[in-house]
């Protein structure tokens, strides 16, 4: 099979501004910066420091020297942590944004679905939106007309075709949007995490459809997802991206296993994962349930996490604890943040401090593993100390009447009473 996508030394950089809100620039800022630029040279006579600080800029490489080939009919999965560069890669491939360096050669028409229902107008009916969305995705009117019935059948929204889509349930919305994209006549289909929404039944149907277009019509599919199960089912090969680089490509099972391995935490002490973000604070010890180890077991009866942090402060500070629970697919499943949620921010005096808080977990957690990120923050202002991915919490899980444990290995399912 011939190579349809050839990517050579592809790189993309963004400039991040540290001061002020990034995103867009206001004219006033540009003028202000110009003025500051001249004042910048004006130094304080005594300290010899610039009088006014200018915004710091930093280059960030979202993609860094990426090389790969995709052959016709392949279904390539792209996995990686949040912010690894997956979506940027797809954006460059779909010509939404230009690469900074490198080149890629694409043979055949490319259709990308980076978001479900882009361009859908809430006021228009389902029927009208099929035509509009089709046109946005690059279909011709005649093409849409000829496939209209199939699209409607696939989306299962026949009854509501003449209802404005703002009255649709989110499931119906996604179904309709995906159905339009599924009938695109393009040689290459690029899909970003779009199946995250929609019910399991429909997800299965979509995966089946993608599999079919590739298997029987020889089309090439590039598929980004955090849903490892979906990748396993669909893809013939997988690419693992991290920090803008391709770490590994190859066999689906191997790459996925490698990816999941990087998600696990090696046993050690929690404090080893410490990252100081503010030099006014020093943490000397951290324990969970009186243990310094980062491997925590939670039995169904005991459902508390007592976190104790001791250290020293260079000045008086308002601080709060924040703990995030991630499942093995990097999905945030639970958040503990009394500072944000209830305004429980305590004032700690200069010198030694001790933070002692108990997190009560729902007492019906299923069998699963969580990775914890523990932060001491001044809510909405800054993170003072962070322990990213520092603890593995292993929930034993509740036992059912049958005596069997209910495993929730594919998602961090919370069974609330």
């Amino acid at each position: 099979m011939s190579v349809v996508i050839k990517v050579e030394h592809l790189s993309k950089s963004y400039i991040i501004r540290h001061q002020g809100q990034s995103g867009y620039v206001a004219l006033r800022d540009v003028i202000a910066d110009k003025v500051k630029g001249t004042l910048h040279k004006t130094k304080n006579l005594v300290t010899n420091r610039p009088v006014i600080k200018t915004a710091e800029k930093e280059e960030f490489w979202a993609l860094n020297d990426v090389n790969f080939d995709v052959r016709q009919g392949e279904r390539v999965g792209i996995i990686g942590r949040n912010g690894a560069g997956k979506s940027t890669l797809l954006k460059v491939l779909s010509r939404i944004t230009e690469p900074t360096l490198g080149r890629m050669t694409i043979k055949g028409r490319i259709a990308s679905l980076l978001e479900v229902g882009t361009g859908f107008h809430p006021e228009l009916t389902g029927r009208e939106n099929i035509f509009l969305n089709g046109a946005i995705l690059g279909m011709h009117r005649a093409e849409i007309k000829s496939k209209f019935d199939e699209i409607v059948a696939f989306s299962e929204v026949e009854k509501f075709l003449d209802t404005p889509v703002k009255r649709y349930s989110s499931g119906m919305y996604v179904r309709l949007a995906f159905a339009v994209a599924a009938y695109l006549e393009s040689e290459i289909l690029v899909i970003d995490e779009v199946l995250a929404v929609g019910d399991a039944e429909f997800q299965k149907k979509c995966l089946g459809k993608m599999h079919d277009v590739s298997q029987y019509q020889g089309r090439t599919v590039l598929f980004v997802s955090h849903n490892i199960t979906a990748i396993e089912q669909l893809c013939s090969g997988v690419m693992l991206i991290d920090k803008g680089k391709i770490l590994l490509t190859g066999n689906t099972v191997e790459v996925i296993n490698e990816y999941l391995k990087t998600n696990t935490i090696v046993s050690g002490e929690i404090i080893d994962a410490m990252k100081i973000c503010n030099n006014q604070i020093m943490v000397e010890s951290i324990t969970i349930n009186n243990l310094t180890s980062n491997m925590i077991e939670i039995s169904p009866e005991e459902n508390k996490l007592n976190i104790n942090i001791r250290g020293r402060l260079a000045e008086e500070r308002r601080m709060a604890l924040e703990v995030r629970f991630f499942d093995q697919y990097d999905h945030l499943q639970m958040l503990y943040s009394p500072g944000h949620l209830y305004g429980q921010i305590k004032i700690f005096k200069k010198g030694n401090f001790e933070m002692n808080e108990t997190i009560v977990l729902p007492d019906s957690l299923t069998k699963n593993e969580f990775r914890l990120t523990i932060d001491i923050t001044q809510p909405n202002i800054e993170v003072l100390v962070s322990f990213p991915n520092s603890v593995k919490v292993n929930c034993k899980g509740i036992q059912g009447r049958t005596g069997l444990e209910f495993p929730a290995t594919k998602s961090g399912l919370l069974m609330l009473k």
């Binding site: 690469p99 490198g102 050669t105 006021e123 995705l137």
Partner: protein, 278 residues
Amino acid sequence: MTEQPNEIELIIEPNRLKKNYWNDLWRFRELFLFLAWRDILVRYKQTIIGLAWSLIRPLLTMIVFTVIFGRLAKLPSEGVPYPILVYAGMLPWQFFSTSFSEASNSLLANSNMLTKIYFPRLIIPASAVIVNFVDFLISFIILIGLMIWYHYVPSWTILYLPLFLVLALLTAMGAGLYVAALNVKYRDFKYIVPFVVQFGLYVSPVGFSSNVVPEKWRLLYSINPMVGVIDGFRWSIIGGNSQIYLPGLMLSIGLIIFLLIFGIWYFRKMEKTFADII
């Protein structure tokens, strides 16, 4: 299944997008129509009187202007009923001002499309202008109504009308493209545009004929490109009664062409960064 003998090969490199730009623009012509169609459909959804809004707004403005400039200020009417004089100036102005402000906001309004889908970005402001063209045609009905009411027969000069219409369209397009691109980067223009439009209404000969302006200032007055457009428009409707001021018109046309070329150039220059900075 769709094996094409001559497969399209696309090369993506920094600064390469330019090459097939105009081809792509042609390929996406249907999208252009669909976007215009969407905006027209959506425009008066969930309104009670719907399309009548495009009739009521110009009609009311015309009445106010006639009362203020015709009755109270008693400005000369060049031998035609004052409502017709005002309306003939208001049509192109309204077309220009709404197209201009909608085109300049169009990229922001469709920002989700910009960041998720590829297509020549020129389509978005262009379709915003076209939507207003439909409104213009509807408002034109009132002019016909006024002519019937006052038993006014337009002269042969009305044949020039399409020419001035195109000029109004190009002005809106040129200015709209430029400001749309600026608006993506500097949101300040969200506040500047309404001001320009409001201000422009008073410095353009909308409520009065530009014959009111002293002869020696007329060329200077024509630096506002809409002066040439509105004068021409009025001339082609009122005909022999009003004289067209040729040097001014030429200046306006020159400025409009410059504005258009500059607008397209700037838009194309900024376009590739839209998805990153919007």
